[in-house]
Symmetry: C2
Subunit: 134 residues, 2 copies
């Protein structure tokens, strides 16, 4: 068992899970990532226009779910959660590919983030070619 | 602070950080992901040929590093770790895009995994188009 620490929080107009799109490219609004002071130095080289992977801790997800119907669609077969992007999974880590729109001090604005207001951010990584295809 | 649980472990010929390639497409060997019994059900629909994202907990990384020189290259400028893929970062989550080569009971063989033997696996997700580009 390991301890994961929030390095930032999401500030977003999305406050309820039923309002959130399933994926960021399905109409998620821009949101702010507000870094905690001890981790600001790690974020100092993020720039407007960068494409980054934001890893969140989906703190309103259920961790004891092992199978689910994708998109809660009753016509689809139940799948093991490691074959889905459901937030409900043993370690509810969200992975969001977003573009940085603006930076204001400790606040970084990003496009298309489908995470709820207050969601902890646990990591930010640059996108690599190897993430896309090979 | 949140608790993250290993759902599997990596079995790999890579045993030392100095042997590991920087990225999976730089000569990492095939490796096995061995699921823990309580999480097998979540992995039941993984199939040979699937491209998946494997999230690891890089348990030999340093968590108090906020800036680093990419690839330990002294000619490069120091960067905040959120602009690098260094394993040394506040939450040392590794993100690996790999293809499933074979499945044998609780063991899933994948190509090009640059994680050390024994590394905890914390999540597996299918690759989405949105991870690649938009």
């Amino acid at each position: 068992m390991f301890e994961i620490v929030p390095v930032a929080r999401v500030a977003s107009p999305l406050v309820d899970r039923s309002d959130a799109p399933r994926q960021g490219d399905e109409g998620a609004p821009p949101a702010w990532i507000v870094f905690e002071q001890p981790f600001l130095e790690a974020a100092r080289d993020l720039s407007e226009g960068d494409d980054v992977l934001v890893l969140t801790w989906l703190d309103r997800a259920e961790r004891d779910v092992l199978t689910t119907r994708p998109r809660d669609d009753p016509t689809r077969p139940e799948l093991g959660v490691f074959s889905t992007r459901s937030p409900d999974r043993p370690n509810p880590i969200g992975l969001h590919r977003v573009r940085i729109l603006a930076i204001e001090g400790p606040r970084v604005q990003v496009a298309d983030l489908e995470a709820l207001d207050g969601t902890p951010v646990v990591d930010v990584k640059p996108v690599l070619d190897a993430d896309r295809e090979r």
